[in-house]
């Protein structure tokens, strides 16, 4: 069987993502940038990229498309997505483009499109952009209105000003923190944070460029290089960022990796008491600990389909001041003070602020939560058999509370599972969680049942 196109290229509401040279080509980059330039109203567009080699090619194509549509382009160079989002608001720009494949392996790349407020596009906006892309009907400026490019080198400083207005950065200098930058954009930001505010970081994999390991923020990746170094370095905590610094994972001062699922409940526990907003927006695959935390602070959990787009659409339903925090089990969390963008650096500073406020260690804080055990698996699928698979699972587990908003989630007291089809890869994901010990029997049974429909 030949490789499916979905394995090397995906064009969707989230934007353009693929393996450069195999699926993602310069042609699509220029077309997408032209579609985005056509989609946006007047005004400049902010651009930044991650340090992958292919990001330069994407940058050149994006600039060409945007200039051709008459937009001036402000190129921030190699910066994280949150820095781009911050700069969009500061410039009152029409929008922005973030080049980089975030937590994907080195051969991947992607374009993420950001609206005028620095937020991701809504589903309706993304649909319009996709239509323009597919129609290839672009509105190009005449020769005297072609846009101009300018470089801006100090976007990180403005972004740090924003962080400094929310966190007591000088006080956080009491902590010694070791960070695995995964050769991504976080190293530039953290160095500057240390220079300006005296924060103490030990950086590993801090050279931007070739990736020393996969840049995902799983607990396994924390355990690989970061966790063993925390205690010997005498650090209070360890953090691991993905390439564009929107996701973050942790290790305790004792060098114990913390599952990425913990980032959202931890930040919810810190933020909800200080926030007027009591809603936690998360997806159906995220730990049930979130509900327990919400209950402690009189909050409420809104669960939506998996994917950034569903979270954005859900957030658009509520007034911003109603929302306490939003995020997912991947370590990507949005904090209201930063206008709802996934920001790993802001999340790290929130965790450190929490340690400061409680005057205790990360280990101690985590010990205050009940134990939940989560098991995750994946199975490649045959598209035609997916409906039958869900019918069968729903019939078999009809004794639980059934939610079919995104595949199938079934809840019992203290146990739940979620089976869904990935939006980015041709696989079925199986997630199963239980308070206390791992739900091994349920998980194994589910994997067996799903495999019967597998490719």
């Amino acid at each position: 069987m030949s490789a499916r196109s979905g394995e090397s290229l995906r064009i969707s509401h989230v934007g353009l993502r693929g393996i450069v040279g195999r699926g993602l080509s310069a042609e699509q980059v220029v077309d997408f940038a032209s579609a985005f330039g056509t989609f946006l109203g007047g005004g400049p567009v902010v651009l930044g990229r991650d340090p992958r080699a292919s990001s330069v090619m994407l940058r050149e194509g994006v600039i060409a498309g945007l200039l051709a549509c008459g937009h001036d382009v402000i190129d921030l160079g190699v910066v994280s997505t949150p820095v781009i989002q911050h700069a969009i608001r500061r410039h009152g720009a029409a929008g922005g483009v973030s080049i980089g494949a975030s937590h994907n392996a080195a051969e991947w790349n992607a374009l993420k499109f950001l609206g005028g407020a620095g937020t991701y596009l809504s589903t309706a906006e993304a649909s319009e952009l996709l239509d323009l892309y597919h129609l290839r009907r672009f509105t190009f400026a005449t020769w005297e209105r072609v846009g101009r490019l300018r470089q801006e080198d100090d976007a990180i400083d403005y972004y740090l000003d924003g962080l400094a207005s929310v966190y007591d950065l000088a006080a956080l200098a009491r902590f010694k923190v070791i960070v695995d930058c995964a050769n991504g954009t976080s190293s530039r930001i953290l160095r500057r944070l240390a220079e300006r505010h005296g924060l103490r970081f030990i950086l590993i994999n801090e050279r931007m460029g070739a990736l020393a390991h996969e840049p995902n923020t799983s607990a396994a990746m924390v355990a690989l290089q970061l966790a063993p170094l925390v205690a010997p370095a005498g650090a209070d905590a360890g953090f691991l960022f993905d390439v564009d610094s929107d996701r973050v994972a942790m290790a305790t001062g004792a060098g114990v990796p913390v599952t990425e699922e913990m980032m959202l409940p931890l930040l919810a526990d810190y933020l909800l008491p200080r926030s007027r907003g009591k809603l936690i927006i998360t997806n159906l695959s995220t730990t049930a600990l979130v509900e327990e935390i919400a209950a402690r602070h009189g909050g409420k959990v809104i669960r939506v389909r998996v994917g950034r787009q569903a979270a954005m659409d859900a957030m658009a339903i509520y007034r911003p001041e109603e929302i306490g925090v939003a995020g997912e089990g991947t370590g990507a969390v949005m904090i209201p003070a930063f206008r709802f963008v996934y920001d790993g650096i802001a999340s790290m500073l929130a965790v450190l602020s929490m340690m400061l406020e409680r005057g205790t260690t990360l280990t101690e804080i985590l010990a205050g939560y009940p134990r939940y055990s989560i098991l995750k698996g994946q199975v490649s699928f045959v598209p035609q058999r997916i409906p039958a698979m869900f019918m069968e699972l729903e019939r078999r587990y009809s004794d639980g509370r059934v939610n079919s908003a995104d595949g199938l989630r079934v809840d019992w007291p203290d146990t739940w599972f979620h089976v869904r089809v990935s939006q980015t890869e041709p696989i079925v994901r199986v997630i199963c969680e239980q308070k206390g010990e791992p739900p091994r029997a349920l998980f194994d049974a589910l994997m067996d049942q799903v495999r019967q429909y597998a490719a």
């Binding site: 393996i19 090619m57 051969e107």
Partner: protein, 458 residues
Amino acid sequence: MPREHLLKIGVSGIRGVVGPFLTPQLTRAFAQAFGTYVGPRRVVVGRDTRTSGPMLQHAVHCGLLAAGCEVTDVGVLPTPTIQFYTARCGARGGLAITASHNPPEYNALKMFNAAGLFFNHYERSELLDIYHQSAFREATNAEMRGVTRDADAPVRLHIEQVLAQMDAERIRARRFRVALDAVNGAGAVMTPHFLQHALGCELQAISIDPGKPFPRVAEPGPETLGDLARLVREQGCDIGFGQDPDGDLAVVDETGRVLDNDDVLAVAIDAVLARQRGAVVVNLTTSSAIDDIAAARGCRVYRTPVGEANVVETMLATGAVIGGEGSNGGIIYPAVQSCRDSYAGMALWLDRLAATGASVSALVEGLPRYHRRSATVGFEHGRLGPLMQKLAGRWPEAQLDRRDGLKVGFADGWIHARASNTEPLLRIAVEAKTEARAAELFTAAEQVAADPSAILGG
């Protein structure tokens, strides 16, 4: 009704009106075809000062990087400087983003091989095949190279090369008063530097701000160089140089008269042959004055179809010491490099002034005198053949050359009729020893072209 030529993709590259016609999509694809053709090595990219230049340059970079090439961005530079640096820095090829003398709404890509020369016919055909088939090389992340900037070395090395071929001391000693109109084009920064600092001229310059739009019609000529002519007269300059946006050259004499392009070339050829004997190559439509000048120096002249690539090919094959095209004043001096190079041209002119002590007008007066006429006549598609037949049949006694349209040669003059490559237009050029004979031949040729019976093949 004649079609407006808003976009042209062909063997000469890609050219069009920016916006709805010349798009970043087409440009990226063409650059990726180019990168695929020359291979995953270094490619030099530069441009003129058009507003669309940066947009197209980024599209070019995108296509080249996608094909795995390493891009050396030399920024805004005259085309000959880009060509020189392409050959000098060991690149696999070069691209200049310039529509030369076309109006500001146009832009185009010019393609050079590893020697800095225009692609020849076969190279262009192969490139076009890759473009049309979208048979692009698609580099992976691991194979991807980057963009480096190199703004200073090209100017320095090109000027050094030009000076090495001249008696620069002799030129500097004269402290020529030189006027320049650089049309705010690619020569706007380099040419003042070249004339003032490299050649020690006292410079009176206008339109040398590369950030501003073209202040006049881009093509330099008698109708468009009024400001330069005035500057020459008011400042008492020895000579005036007018450039087009990518650095091509027109010359104004000390009285403010814009010289005929054929005369600009003739003086440069005489300047070279005065120092060094060797073959001369010009196109079929260049003045017979060249034959007289070469004969006086005992040198041979080769004629080629119109087009720089044709002239250069023959120059390389014959080991010519000088060449060019009278139609555009292009001077090709292989001792500097084998392409049209206005910097070699300016230096040759100043060198000739310094060597002879004569004025510009006196040098032109000293040239063999011919009288020239030219016109452009429209024809219907499909009727070009009968029209040429009729022209050939009109003068059975004449010598015929069919290498580029039709050239009808007489003892005392010639008629050259050739179709445009881009439009159904016939260009008729006539030259003769006397004004009366030129008028006679021109009228006869025009009559044939305008005669409907000729068009019907009668």
